[in-house]
Amino acid sequence: MSYMKIKQWRDSEIEKQESSYDLNAFHDLIMKQVFEAVLKKVKEEAGSPPCQYAWFVMGSAGRFEQAIISDQDHGIVYEEESEESGRYFKNLGKELAFGLNEAGYPYCDGNVMSSNPVWCRSKVSWNDQLAKWLNEESFDSIRYLLIFYDARVLEGEQEYILHLKKHIHDAIKEKPDLLERFLENTIHTKKAVGFFQQFLPETHGSHAGSIDIKQSGFLPYVNAVRLLALKESVKAASTLSRIEALSQLPKYGRELQDYKSGFEKLLHYRHMYHKKMTESYDDIHYLDVKELNKNERKELKQILKDGQKLQDYTQSVIKGMMRR
């Protein structure tokens, strides 16, 4: 299928997806179609891949939490450390970024794409890169590690990513202070419920009156759960499956189950709300509270407050661990 055809297919079907789960399954399908088209094209020009590899997505795609419109975040890891492989996969990465953009996934502002050599490496080189980031502990390297940690393989060798994630887990076991750095990097999110339990919507700009649902809604949950997953060496990438895995551990038990339903509802609200209207990538992060009825508002407020609570809880878990 050409990129254009894929885009047409995407546009005609995407509004029909009934739930956030269906939508994300559909996104996976589209992205895999793009990959197939890209691979076909690259094969015609440069032959088959010279070695085994894995193509993985990160960000909301990695977490299986994409909205209707979503930008691209992806990378490649390949087996063989050689100049030939380097050239081949860099080329593949470039075509992937181009193809995804054609199919309706805008380029990533932060350049987290397989076309960027930072995110397209051999296994050995990835090992070195992760070690370097873990060692540096700078603001940027912490951010890159957090982005990488949401990686999920779409095409190729699943275990490559699991293996790389194990590196991170080992590093944390050896140096638990890292968790505190991760915590500090993600703790600052926007408050959306005020002193009098009122919503705190945007006051200026074209989204005035809307809640920044990404900053105030999703991020507190996503960041807190990711942090606990890092601490407990959970391999899953999506927030919901991370909660599920964490709940198996006696120390979290039922504590996290309530947050799971809150997060599911958040996905649901965003999905229902954005299905109703066509919008740009920028709009996807906002939710106009005036569109909600009284019960929905009450529920959303609770979800937003729970997000803050979960963040506080996670903070106390991490800090408590440090003190011991």
């Binding site: 408050k191 005020g194 002193f195 009122q198 005035a208």
Partner: protein, 424 residues
């Protein structure tokens, strides 16, 4: 002894005048900091030259209209082209008094120009500076301070919440309506954009310069030093400003979930504007209340004008208008029998509603006059001058270059121009 007191009073008045003139510097920092880089040079320069213009007009006719003899309820009619001569048995140098009053007229005009910011033609500033200084400010000042009809009524406005601040704000209001909002302020869907000022440090420094200048503004308005009363006035002034800043911080934190810096700065200024009318008539605890209420009022006032789709770049309508009204009314509530040297005690001191009524009437009439005459002047100017506003292109490139051919921050812009030239 009398001679020494005469000299001390005169020194105090000149010192007051210097502090108030220095407030022009505060306004330059405040206004330039709250607007964009591309207009900074223009804003600074126009403040200096319109103050110069207003000084000459005040000397020629303004002072005579306010304080001249042969006066009627509307204006005075002598002392034009004031020669500096000493009048009668005033306990201070009349020339010092003149300078002090001139400084006030200049402040009112600069407040009015807040409503012009970032889009009015330079020629509009020039013409309005003259007409406002002849037709608007002196009339209200005469009514309240020059023995006009509101003074006879017993209206309390110690240092000019109404005379200086509200009058300026009303002219600013008329200007914002006729000039219309800046490009990009409002969206088609009715939402408001924040056009951020380019330097919050300037804005904050502007507030501090104004805060200090206010001791000349209010303290100087005692005119005399012999009983040390100016100290009490200065004390009230300072705590009201503090209460305004604190109140604004609290309200922005409660309503927005964060302590908003521009709101805090506006709160301090609103406290100062409000206490200007009442600083000599109320007890210290009342000053705290007056400042506190002003700090909250200014926060909601800014929201209110946003809702009305009125673009008020430096919040002149809220800081000087809304707080000016509140400050004027506040004496009707808090003026004490001992301190009410003009008028009567307020509602909370057994004065009933009579002083509050006087204040309400005085503030409304003054506001209506200042607004109506400013609006008429600007309306006619708009017709005669073929518009008050620069062209869209000029507004976008900025008034520094379009009106003056030079940048306030040359290095920031000329490098860009070079780049464009190379790219072309």
């Amino acid at each position: 002894m009398e001679e020494i007191i005469f000299s001390l009073n005169s020194v105090w008045l000149v010192l007051g005048a210097l502090l108030v003139i220095l407030m022009q510097g505060g306004f330059i920092l405040l206004e330039a900091g709250s607007t964009r880089m591309k207009n900074a040079g223009h804003i600074s320069g126009k403040t200096v030259f319109t103050f110069g213009l207003a000084s000459i007009v005040f000397w020629a006719v303004g002072y005579g209209f306010i304080f001249g003899g042969n006066s009627n309820f509307f204006i005075g009619l002598s002392d034009f082209f004031y020669s500096g001569e000493q009048t009668g048995d005033m306990p201070y140098s009349t020339a010092a008094f003149f300078l002090f009053q001139l400084a006030f007229a200049g402040i009112s005009l600069t407040i009015a120009f807040g409503g012009f910011a970032e889009r009015a033609k330079l020629s509009a500033y020039l013409v309005f500076a003259i007409l406002f200084s002849v037709l608007v400010y002196p009339v209200v000042a005469h009514w309240i301070w020059g023995g006009g009809w509101l003074a006879e009524h017993g209206k309390q406005d110690f240092a000019g919440s109404t005379v200086v601040h509200l009058t300026g704000a009303m002219a600013a209001f008329a200007a914002t309506i006729l000039l219309k909002p800046r490009i990009g302020k409002f969206n088609k869907n009715g939402t408001v954009n924040n056009i951020f000022g380019h330097n919050q440090v300037y804005t904050a420094l502007g507030v501090i310069v104004l805060w200090v200048g206010w001791f000349g503004f209010n303290g100087g308005s005692t005119f005399v030093v012999d009983d040390g009363f100016f100290g009490f006035v200065a004390l009230n002034t300072n705590i009201a400003a503090g209460a305004g800043a604190v109140a604004a911080l609290i309200i922005s934190w409660i309503v927005l979930g964060k302590s908003d810096i521009p709101t805090i700065l506006n709160g301090a200024l609103a406290g100062l504007v409000a206490i200007t009318a009442s600083c000599a008539f109320v007890e210290t605890w009342a000053s705290v209340v007056i400042g506190f209420v002003a700090g909250i009022l200014v926060f909601y006032s800014v929201k209110f004008f946003d809702k009305l789709k009125v673009d008020d770049p430096i919040y002149a309508l809220s800081v000087h208008g809304a707080a000016g009204v509140w400050g004027t009314l506040s004496t009707g509530l808090f003026a004490t029998p001992e301190l009410a040297s003009v008028g009567q005690p307020g509602l909370f001191y057994g004065g009933g509603f009579s002083q509050l009524g006087v204040q309400a009437m005085g503030v409304s009439v003054s506001a209506i006059y200042a607004f109506a005459v400013s609006f008429a002047i600007l309306y006619i100017m708009k017709k005669v001058m073929k518009g008050l506003r620069v062209s869209e292109e000029e507004e976008i490139i900025g008034l520094d270059v379009s009106e003056h051919g030079n940048y306030g921050y040359p290095e920031a812009f000329i490098a860009n121009e070079e780049k464009n030239r190379i790219a072309n």
